[in-house]
Amino acid sequence: MGVYISKPIRSEVLKPELGQFPSNGKAPSKMTPVAPTDEGTFNLNTLLERVDNDRELLRELLEIFKEEFPRYREELRRAAALSDLPRLRTVGHALKGMFSNLAADRAAEQAANLERLGKGSETAGLAAALEAFEAEAAALLPMLDSYLAEARR
C-alpha cells in the first residue's frame, strides 16, 4: 500500500493542478507529478497529455472505467476459477487496453500477463498471476476514484 495516499492530501495537490489546464492547452510538460504517487501505478501527466488536458474527457474516461471494470474483474475471476483460458485471454486483452490507455502501466502489465497465460495451455501460474493483478488493481482503484471525485467537482 506504499502508493496509497490519503484523500485530503491529494485533494490539495490535485485541485490546482487540474484547474490550471485549459481544455485545449498543450502538453503539461512542466507539471510536477502529483506527489507522492507511483507513476508506474498511475501517471496522471501521461493521461492528461493523452486527453490533451481535456478535464471533461478525463472525467468521462474515469467514469467509463468505474462502470466497466467490476464486470471485467468478475469475468476474470470466473475464467480463472474455471481455468477457461480463451476467456482469460480475451478479458486480459481488453483490460490491458483499458489500463494502458489510462496510463496505469503496471496494471496493464499484469493484464498482459493474464492474456499471455490465456494463450498458452498451462494453468499452473494462473492463481499467482490473478493475485498479482488484484493487488495492483487494489492499489490503483482508490487513486482513480479520488481523481474521479476531483474531476466531478
Binding site: V51, I64, M98, N101
Partner: protein, 322 residues
C-alpha cells in the same frame, strides 16, 4: 473528413473518438468486426479507417482482406491500432491489406501525423482520379470545340453506315466548312478564329438531335452524321444548319462577324454499299462544288445513276444556284 474507428473496448473507443473529433474528423465509431466490414463495403464509405486487431465477430486482418477484395471506386486508407507489437504481427497486419500500423497506447501527435499521411495519399488518389476522368473526356473530344475529334467521328461514321445498311435506313453525312475562315484569322487573329470555331460548333450541335453526331473533321471543317434520316428531309435539315450559321452574327471579342458555311451532303441510300472513306470523298467533292458555286449553300453528292434519274427534284430544294 470521415473516419471509421473500430475498437471493442469502450474506454479506448471513447478516447480515440474524442481525440479525432478534436483533430477535426467526423468520427464513426463501431465495436465489432462485422460492423466495420459493413461500413467499409458500402459505396459512401469513410475513406480513412483506424482498426483494432482483436475484435468480436471478425478480427482486423479478416476485415482488411474483405475490404480490399471488395472493389469500390475510392480507396480506403486503413491503419491498424493494436497492442500487438511483434514484427511478425506487423508484417501480417500490413500483408492483410492495411496501409499503416500503430501500437497501443497511441501517442496523440503521432496518430495525427499518421492520419495526415493517409490524407496525403487520399488527396493524391483524388488528383489521379480527376486527371483520369479529364483524360477520359479529352481523349475522344476535340480540345477547342468539345465536339468529337476526327478519329472518333470517322469511327462513328463507319458504325453508322454499317447499321444503316443492315437496317435498310438512311444515314446522312454533312461535310461542311466555314467560308473565308482564313481571312477571319488573318484579319482578327487566331483567338477570334477560335471563338468563331467554338460558336459554330455550338450552333451545329444545337441544330441536331441528341442521337446525331457532330465532330471536328479538320481546321474549320466539321463532319455531321444524321442517323436514321429520312432521305426526303436530309436537304431541309442541311438547309436548317446552313441558316443556323448564316442568319445570326457571331459575337467575338473583335465585334460581331457575319459568317456562312458551305455544305456537302451525302445520303447513304444514294451510295449503297459504299465504304466510309468513299462516302467522305464524295461528300468532300459535294462540299467543293458548294464552294465553287458561291458558298453558303448545300450541294448533294449524287451517284452517276441517280444523277440521271432525279436531278430536277433534288436541285429544287437546294439553296442557291445549283
Amino acid at each position: 473528413m470521415k473516419i471509421l474507428i473500430a475498437e471493442d473496448d469502450i474506454l479506448s473507443r471513447r478516447l480515440l473518438q474524442k481525440t479525432l473529433e478534436k483533430a477535426g474528423y467526423e468520427v464513426i465509431a463501431v465495436e465489432n468486426g462485422r460492423l466495420v466490414q459493413e461500413a467499409l463495403c458500402q459505396s459512401d464509405r469513410p475513406r480513412l479507417a483506424l482498426l483494432d486487431w482483436e475484435m468480436p465477430e471478425a478480427d482486423g486482418p479478416t476485415v482488411c482482406r474483405a475490404v480490399r477484395a471488395h472493389q469500390e471506386k475510392s480507396y480506403v486508407y486503413m491503419i491498424f491500432l493494436t497492442s500487438k507489437e511483434s514484427s511478425e504481427d506487423k508484417v501480417a497486419g500490413l500483408e492483410s491489406g492495411a496501409d499503416d500500423y500503430l501500437t497501443k497506447p497511441f501517442h496523440t501527435e503521432e496518430l495525427k501525423a499518421r492520419l495526415r499521411t493517409g490524407l496525403r495519399i487520399l488527396h493524391l488518389e483524388d488528383r489521379l482520379v480527376e486527371a483520369r476522368e479529364e483524360m477520359r473526356f479529352k481523349a475522344p473530344h476535340d480540345a477547342l470545340t468539345g465536339l468529337w475529334n476526327r478519329g472518333v467521328i470517322v469511327k462513328l461514321l463507319n458504325g453508322e453506315l454499317e447499321r444503316a445498311s443492315r437496317e435498310r435506313k438512311c444515314t446522312a453525312i454533312l461535310l461542311c466548312d466555314i467560308d473565308h475562315f482564313k481571312s477571319v484569322n488573318d484579319t482578327f487573329g487566331h483567338p477570334v478564329g477560335d471563338e468563331v470555331s467554338r460558336e459554330v460548333a455550338r450552333r451545329l450541335q444545337g441544330s441536331v438531335r441528341s442521337y446525331d453526331f457532330v465532330g471536328r473533321y479538320g481546321g474549320e471543317e466539321f463532319l455531321i452524321i444524321l442517323n436514321n434520316c429520312d432521305p426526303g428531309s436530309a436537304l431541309t435539315r442541311a438547309e436548317q444548319m446552313r441558316e443556323a450559321i448564316a442568319k445570326r452574327e457571331i459575337i467575338t471579342n473583335s465585334g460581331p462577324l457575319r459568317l456562312t458555311m458551305s455544305f456537302g451532303l451525302l445520303r447513304s441510300v444514294d451510295w449503297k454499299g459504299a465504304a466510309a472513306s468513299k462516302c467522305l470523298n464524295e461528300a468532300d467533292a459535294a462540299l467543293y462544288a458548294a464552294k465553287a458555286s458561291g458558298r453558303n449553300c448545300v450541294r448533294l453528292a449524287q451517284s452517276s445513276t441517280q444523277a440521271e434519274e432525279l436531278p430536277a427534284r433534288v436541285s429544287e430544294k437546294v439553296h442557291g444556284e445549283w
